[in-house]
């Protein structure tokens, strides 16, 4: 179910600007990997290359290989639409579809892909909402608009929407940066539960969060503004936060970063 991701020699561009340079790493199946690093170092760009969302941005272009088990996401003949069904994504700001009810939001990925059987949908919606720890809060108002929920609930709704299509990998781009501590805690607990079923990659600016939720942590940095971002090191989270092998990582984590 959960898949291994093997990235080798990956660079991403915005038109002529190189945003990330020659990144290689392995993301283990069924684990949580956190990406940390200063703003503008290309964490989010790198994350978006993992489900081919980077090329949606005008001028976006990728070089290199991303192997999902034994298939290259950027191989010839690979349909980005299929890739995105396999690798789901949760965004920084909660973005439920404003015209749809809570139920329709969760069912959106399935409905828009042509699954219309009510009984099947009912089951999946309930399972996904339970999976996102939102079922008890919304089960009595499934037909109300999703935009009427609180920010934390909306983000969990978006997670439910993402896991409803049964992806194998779940990418999260700073999923808690717009949420209060209680909602953040709810989502962190949720990540702990979800990692048994999905490979999870999470971008975060919150070092404590990376330490709490992730098994492995990757530190990204850039040498100067306008230079491409680079992967400095990736290691077990415990080791990164106690005894990193690169001085820059230690400086960043302990707040001595320039």
């Amino acid at each position: 179910m959960a898949k291994r991701i093997d990235i080798s020699g990956l660079s991403a561009y915005y038109s002529a600007f190189k945003a990330i340079d020659d990144i290689s790493m392995t993301i283990e199946p069924g684990s949580v990997t956190a990406f940390i690093g200063p703003s503008g170092c290309g964490k989010s760009t790198f994350l978006r290359t993992l489900n081919r969302m980077h090329e949606v941005t005008p001028g976006g272009r990728v070089e290199g290989k991303v192997m999902l088990d034994d298939e290259n996401l950027y191989g010839s003949g690979v349909d980005p639409v299929t890739v995105r069904r396999t690798v789901g994504m949760v965004f920084q700001r909660p973005n439920p579809f404003p015209t749809m009810s809570i139920y329709d939001n969760v069912a959106a990925g399935l409905k828009l892909n042509g699954i219309r059987k009510k009984s099947e949908l009912d089951g999946i919606v309930e399972r996904s909402l339970k999976g996102a720890n939102l079922w008890n809060e919304v089960k009595d108002r499934l037909n109300k608009p999703g935009s009427g929920l609180s920010g934390g609930q909306q983000q969990r709704l978006c997670i439910a929407r993402a896991i409803a299509v049964e992806p194998q990998v779940l990418l999260m781009d700073e999923p808690c940066s717009a949420l209060d501590p209680i909602s953040t805690l709810a989502i962190e607990d949720l990540i702990g539960e979800l990692k048994t079923r999905f490979t999870i990659v999470i971008v975060t600016h919150n070092m404590q969060q990376a330490a709490r939720v992730s098994d492995r942590t990757a530190f990204f940095n850039l040498s100067a503004v306008g230079q491409p971002g680079k992967l400095i090191e990736i290691d077990d989270t415990e080791r990164i936060f106690s005894n990193p092998s690169v001085q820059a990582t230690e400086d960043y984590i302990s707040g001595r970063f320039g």
């Binding site: 069904r85 965004f91 015209t99 828009l112 009427g148 978006c158």
Partner: protein, 359 residues
Amino acid sequence: MSDTVMDARPASGTPASPRLASRHLPRWSPLAIAAGAIAVAAGIGAGAGLSSHIQWGLIALVLFVAGSYAITARVEGRRQAKDRVATSLVWSSFVLAVIPLYSLVETTISKGADVIDGTFLTHSMNNVLTIQPGGGVYHAIIGTLEQVGIATVIAAPLGMLTAIYLVEYGKGRLAKWVTFFVDVMTGIPSIVAGLFILSIWFVALGKAPASGFAGSLALALLMMPVVVRSTEEMLKLVPNELREASLALGVPKWRTTVKVVLPTAVGGITTGVMLAIARIAGESAPIALLVFGSAAINTDPFHDPQSSLPYYIYEQYNNGNQPSYDRAWGAALVLIAFVMVLNLIARFIARWKAPKAGR
């Protein structure tokens, strides 16, 4: 650390902070200044023997703005005075803009309402002498509905698809050219659109058109750029995050456009289409060139001349006698009501389809 208490008192030598409250004019003062300005203006106008009341009004306006600035500046200060001047300018511009609108509606209703009755709405001008009262606009209403309807069926889908292309897919040279030509088309005078269709008709069929359909083509030409522009603006308002959310679920781009982007923007798009319809419903020049007008009922838009409401107004006015003038006013009122109903429908749809935030 914990036993350090911040000193809340200001350091000695800091000047006392200014009082927050200041002197204020009473709430009725703008009214009083306005009344004073009008009284003085009336005095000046009468004294100088100005006959035009518009001049009196303008003098009152200038006095009001100057007076409120002077008085407020004395009592409240310069910034508040500027605020008052800006406020009074905005209000007087609003009043100036509303006066013609009010006068237009009032004139049309007062002159047109008497003519409108069951007979007027259900009879044509067939076999009615123009110098006699009687007759009606039934044939013109049918003509307008059919011509505008066909034009909408042609222009609305084309315009919306063009806008979808421009916003969702278009990049590079083709999109730039399309945008340019849409801009050019927005400025085409209606008579030119009519002449264009007329020339095509002659080249293709070798005779004068004389059908409602030919008029519809010209109207569609006028309507399309308006639809493109308004739809484009509405699609641009749809947050990019929604498109990304949908794409990230593995939904193909065309389905994202149809199921996520369009429903989010449908209220605004509908309003835009309705406004475009309202714009072409009042066109008379292409109708005169291509549809010719008719006194009789013709429900077939593809053969033989038809009438339409704007053309009917023009025709009746040209007759030059009182019963015809009355009918022209009546038809004008019907046309205004038609456009008004369209606008109300558009507003209703926009509100009904708008993204909801309720719990």
